[in-house]
């Protein structure tokens, strides 16, 4: 089991990058009035067949050969369901996959969102072949980071260059603070 929702996001998004996604959209939306935290991960990777999609919630299904279990999606699903939420995954071969997890914000069994900024930073910096569009919303306020904008400016300067990496970290940290005033979700 993961200890933070952001770790589930990191894990499930790794699947998107391994599915050859060019662009991954990640949305984290916390709404205290609706008492709802919604996480959406949508990619344009290779997608899954109907059979794969049907088995993906099964912990004893995996496409990898290094081990016999695949716990990424089951962990994420359990985390949502145990927090009075819901979980949905749709996929189409050649089009992409969309994962939606909802959590009841105030549920005692909802794990903390955790270090979402560190997670998004890590995804962006260590996946040079994937672009990310990250939207963070809190009570209706929001900001969007689109790495395609960064790439357009930087040309062939890589994201793992220290100054660029620090910039991205600061960009995420400052914008998150401006959106939620530093609230720990």
């Amino acid at each position: 089991m993961m200890t933070e929702i952001s770790l589930n996001i990191l894990d499930v998004t790794e699947n998107s990058t391994r599915a050859g996604a060019k662009v991954v959209h990640i949305t984290v939306d916390a709404d205290e009035e609706k008492d709802l935290l919604t996480v959406i991960i949508e990619d344009d990777g290779c997608g899954m067949s109907k059979e794969q999609l049907a088995s993906v919630k099964d912990p004893f299904f995996t496409t990898r050969s290094t081990r016999k279990v695949g716990l990424g999606v089951p962990f994420f699903r359990e985390a949502a369901l145990q927090a009075g939420g819901s979980f949905d995954i749709t996929s189409e071969e050649g089009v992409g996959t969309k994962v939606t997890a909802e959590f009841q914000l105030s549920n005692i069994d909802r794990m903390p969102l955790g270090d979402i900024t560190g997670t998004i930073h890590q995804l962006v910096v260590y996946h040079p072949d994937t672009d990310f569009v990250y939207e963070y919303r809190f009570n209706g306020k929001s900001f969007v980071m689109d790495t395609r904008e960064f790439r357009e400016i930087l040309g062939d300067i890589p994201f793992d260059n220290k100054e660029v990496s620090d910039y991205i970290k600061d960009y995420l940290t400052e914008n998150k603070f401006n959106t939620d005033n530093g609230k720990n979700i």
Partner: protein, 123 residues
């Protein structure tokens, strides 16, 4: 508020600096397992500690990257150090603190921290 103008300034400073992408083949590669098993065991802070230390101590020709499941889930977080002409070193059950030790001893001074290697831990 961070603006894209700041990023442009970074780019302008970088342009003209050669060898930004030169490493990879010739240099040291530090690889952290980042599949479900690694993440659940705490690989994320290990990766962050390694990347920050390598950048801070300006270790030349050293790239920190991540990979999927290495197949030894019970020993995660796993860090592999791959250097040209040398045998791959596999560190297991890593923490950010142990990772910093590996940076100081192995990456900077060239001494393998045998205490944390898989060969030693499984004895």
């Amino acid at each position: 508020m961070k603006s894209l103008e700041e990023l442009k300034a970074i780019r302008d400073k970088m342009q003209g600096q050669v060898g930004l992408r030169a490493e990879s083949e010739a240099g040291t590669r530090v690889v952290v397992g980042m599949a479900t098993c690694g993440i659940a065991s705490g690989a994320r802070p290990v990766l962050t500690a390694l990347a920050d230390a390598v950048a801070e101590k300006k270790i030349p020709d050293c790239a920190v990257t991540q990979t999927g499941c290495i197949g030894l889930c019970q020993y995660e977080p796993i860090v592999e150090v791959i250097q040209p002409g040398k045998e791959k070193v596999t560190y297991i059950k890593m923490t950010p603190e142990k990772a910093l030790e590996v940076v100081d001893k192995h990456l900077i001074r060239g001494q393998v921290v045998t205490e944390y290697t898989i060969g030693n831990q499984l004895k």
